[in-house]
């Protein structure tokens, strides 16, 4: 604190003054969501419906519309997203994160059951035609965002059916086909034409498409499996994870035998292991690090264990041993984790002499994926992954997004498709690139969780365990009920945005807050700065951190 002189001459230090200000900040969930989903906003519509004159049905409809602004397939993502948003949710340490993913799923199902239509952004129609190569989530997201902005869109896929990895890799017990079909159809219904069984770079050249269309989006994915490169890997009885999952989903006859080893620790490995259980095999999953290092979600690991999948941690296959054409055994090398290196990572290294033979009838290798296309075939200049700028731009008129930029999750692919569409639209219309909203992120300390009543996280309903393996198509997790969803939305603490708790209004001594006539989430009171007496009380009271100190320096 600096000493100054008052006009009376005596030294007095500058007093503590905090003038308040209303300022929206980005909540942690949104900051962590790969698609920057405006989670707080759609939850807020439901939680604050009463004060804004909406019935619960109306609120669900409206929340769904807000949700699909960023994500046109919430019923799908609501089932398969590993929901990193929940890890950061401010509520996590109080009484459990808000079930954001389950809410997304609920709203997704709600939208389907009410046959809600995806909201158009414009009534204008533009002449420039847009081609989208691939029909995975990145492509669908791009196509959706362009179609709703008024562009004619044509999609191409080498496969018969749209959906990419969502269709071919994710097992039915996690994502029923009917759900995916319905959400894809709803996107295609926005006047998008689909050309199936066309492989660009093979059946048609990229250049030909570029001549025909004003804008191209590449959503090629990464559909080729990686292998381990160990002796015996090439040959019958060894299959790649995604290859197996695709066959399993297509209900092809697969001869796995009685004992299957699945190699890998990611979601593909778990999906493969659990699918193999559904094909009736005994399954052991072999992973080179420990359980806590597994990239797969903990819930998935627990469920796999529940279904009878066995785990061999700190083990890696060294050699696959066949008897004639049949896999008989896999030689397993014991591993240990090194001391943490400079980055704090512990790497697996072999323990000399620790070798063991495990019996196996087949081996599923699910270690990673890589591009399934060759840049050269497309006339592109790239070694492996595509290299684009932040907006997904490769060059004028050519954008990309999704796994062809490197492996990620569906939510990230949707985000990349959406951002590419925003830039492509700006480019086509000669607009300045839309500025990225740069809201300040709220800090955990400024959300005062003790001001919120305790409300335990709602339990996602699940099918009874006895039924899990009865039919490969049986879904395990179920959707929150109508009432549960409204309860769960009310748990959102609206981090960084006013939710009408009314503390500031009630306690500001000079009555500096006035209620607005037309309220909506985030907009309930206006503050009169000239009345503020600088006590800072409202800032400390505001549970969500929306009110903050005005910078009075200078």
């Amino acid at each position: 604190m600096s000493a100054t002189r008052t006009r009376h001459g005596g030294p007095v230090e500058l007093p503590f003054q905090v003038l308040a200000r209303q300022s929206e900040k980005m909540p942690p969930c949104q900051a962590r969501c790969p698609n920057s989903g405006d989670i707080r906003s759609w939850l807020g519509i439901i939680a604050q419906r009463g004060r804004n004159g909406l019935s619960l049905d109306e609120a669900y409809d409206k929340a769904w519309r807000r949700l699909v602004e960023f994500n046109p397939m919430p019923a799908t993502i609501g089932r398969i997203c590993p929901h990193p948003c929940e890890d950061l949710c401010s509520r996590a340490e109080k009484d459990g994160a808000v079930s954001i993913n389950a809410m997304e799923r609920f709203l997704g199902d709600w939208g389907l059951s009410r046959a809600l239509e995806l909201p158009q952004r414009a009534t204008e129609r533009f002449p420039e035609s847009v081609a989208v190569i691939g029909t995975g989530p990145a492509s669908l997201s791009f196509a959706y965002q362009m179609a709703r902005r008024g562009y004619p869109v044509t999609m191409y896929d080498k496969d018969q059916q749209p959906g990419g990895m969502l269709r071919h890799a994710i097992p039915d017990y996690r994502l029923p086909r009917t759900i995916l079909d319905a959400e894809v159809e709803r996107i295609l219904a926005l006047d998008i034409s689909l050309h199936s069984n066309v492989e660009i770079g093979h059946d048609e050249s990229l250049q030909a498409l570029r001549d025909e269309h004003a804008m191209i989006f590449l959503g090629l994915g990464a559909q080729a499996p990686k292998y381990l490169g160990i002796p015996g890997e090439k040959g019958p009885g060894v299959i790649a994870g995604i290859g197996y999952l695709r066959q399993h989903k297509d209900l092809d006859e697969i001869e796995l035998g009685a004992q299957v080893l699945v190699i890998g620790g990611g979601n593909t490995a778990i999906d493969a292991a659990r699918s193999a259980r559904r094909d009736g095999a005994r399954v052991t999953l072999v992973y080179r690090r420990g359980e806590s290092e597994m990239p797969a979600a903990q819930q998935e690991i627990d469920d796999a264990r529940q279904e009878g999948v066995e785990f061999r941690f700190l083990s890696t296959p060294a050699r696959i041993i066949r008897d004639r054409d049949r896999v008989r055994q896999v030689e397993i090398q014991g591993m240990r984790l090194t001391e943490p290196d400079a980055d704090g990572r512990r790497r697996p290294e072999p323990v000399p002499g620790e070798l063991e033979q495990l019996p196996a009838d087949s081996v599923i290798v699910a270690v990673s994926q890589m591009p399934g296309w060759r840049a050269a075939d497309l006339g592109l200049d790239s070694e492996s992954w595509l290299q684009a700028d932040d907006e997904g731009k490769l060059e004028r008129g050519l954008f990309t997004g999704g796994d062809d930029l490197g492996p990620g999750i569906a939510s990230r692919a949707i985000a990349q498709g959406r951002r590419a569409a925003e830039s492509a639209h700006a480019e086509l219309r000669g607009l300045a690139p839309a500025p990225r909203p740069r809201t300040l992120r709220i800090t955990h300390e400024s959300v005062r969780t003790d001001y919120y009543a305790d409300r335990p996280r709602s339990q996602t309903p699940r099918r009874p365990e006895e039924e899990w393996l009865t039919d490969p198509a049986v879904e395990i997790d179920l959707t929150l009920s109508y009432e549960q969803a409204s309860e769960e939305a009310a748990r959102c603490m609206s981090c960084g945005l006013c939710f009408d708790c009314q503390q500031c209004y009630m306690y500001c001594n000079p009555g500096g807050f006035t209620r607005v006539a037309e309220t909506r989430p985030g907009h309930y009171f206006v503050m009169a700065l000239d009345l503020c007496e600088g006590c800072g009380k409202c800032i400390e009271l505001c549970p969500c951190g929306y009110l903050e100190a005005r910078d009075t320096a200078g």
Partner: protein, 474 residues
Amino acid sequence: MVEGLELLTGKAPKPHKGEAMALEDGSRIAVIGAGPAGSMFSHFFLSMAETVGLSVNVDIFEPRRFCHRGPAGCNHCGGIVSESLVQRLATEGLSLPDCVVQRGIESYTLHTDVGDVEIATPLQEKRIAAIYRGNGPRSSEPVDTQSFDGYLLDLARNRGARVIPRLVTDVRRNEDLMTVHCADQFSDSYELVVVATGINSRLMEMLENETAEFARPARTKTFICEFHLGRDVIRETFGPSMHVFLLDIPRLEFAALIPKGDYVTLCLLGDDIDENLIDTFFSSPEVRDRFPGGVIPGHVCHCYPRINIRAATPVYGDRLVLIGDSGTTRLFKDGIGAAYRTSKAAAKTAVFHGVSAEDFKNYYAPLCRRIDNDNRVGKLVFTFASLVQKSRFARRGILNMAANEQQQVDGPRRMSGVLWDLFSGSASYTDVFLRTLHPAYVGTLLWNLVAANLPRGAGRIGRDAERGDDHVRH
């Protein structure tokens, strides 16, 4: 017909003949606000109900967290628990625990431009408590202290009251019950609603807007701030004494520095205290001299709480009663003591008589009237005090008389007693006023007026801070 809060409004349907509007086993009470009034009501209600074997549920609505530091956890006041309240609480078996008492006060030091005088309790005993309503000033270090309001709320909770951490936004009559509505859309119905929100919240205004016949208490703006000086400096410079200033600053009725643990609380009361007045106050030498090196440090926490200057009318209705600041309180002094008295009277009425407007009129309103009448006398006393503040001549006389009394071991302490009771709020204004009419008081004062204003000062008054002996500062 009984007057009273009809509303919120309208009257409750008349109970059947011969059936009183009274609480029974299983009845429910909502107490809105857990300041001293709300918590003490709940505590005393539940203890009295227990003695008569009545089992009633008490829900206290209070969104504030008294464990928070700074203004958010605080009900804003000077934090003086008066001598009379300390004694009455002790008599009730509620001795304030050490962690609640930031400092025991045993004297008042009066500062004027003509000198200072320290007025001590006759027994040299710490009978006044300096407390924090919340958990201390903003950015204070966590130490083993407890909020006074938090302590009282715990008493109520331990008696069986349920604390509901919700903000009440409306109270309405609904058939024969009262319904309480909260900001988060929660609502519930009760047989009795006790409004104890104080006046530093907007609820009273909201109720007034809804109810034609109800007038909320009139208020004026005061100022409070906290200075961090550290325990040792405070012990040396302030001691266990509350420092009161008699300065000739228009609109300033009462100014005091109250030492607490590591902080000193400044409290300015008067008519619409504003920044100009605060500036004038800070720049007067009597104030600056109180601080080490004559420098007033920056404060760490401040607010402009409102204080009552006129009671609400009416303070009751069927199944509805307003207690503490929400109803009526003492002018400028001992607000917590008034909260104790009104809350207990309301609790007694509800337990032993009933909860109709008629019951509150007969058994609760008389106390409120007594307080209001005394406040009228209080206004007179403050007018007189401000005359003294304006006159250097009178200041000398009063200081002289008090200083002389303080030097005598025995003998009447008329001026000291009057000043003590006036500053500490230990006696009613009526009592203080009557004593100033005592012929002996008047005579001695006259003599002192003359003596103190003789050239070269015949009276030796005031304690010089540097030399520590008594002399007159001219």
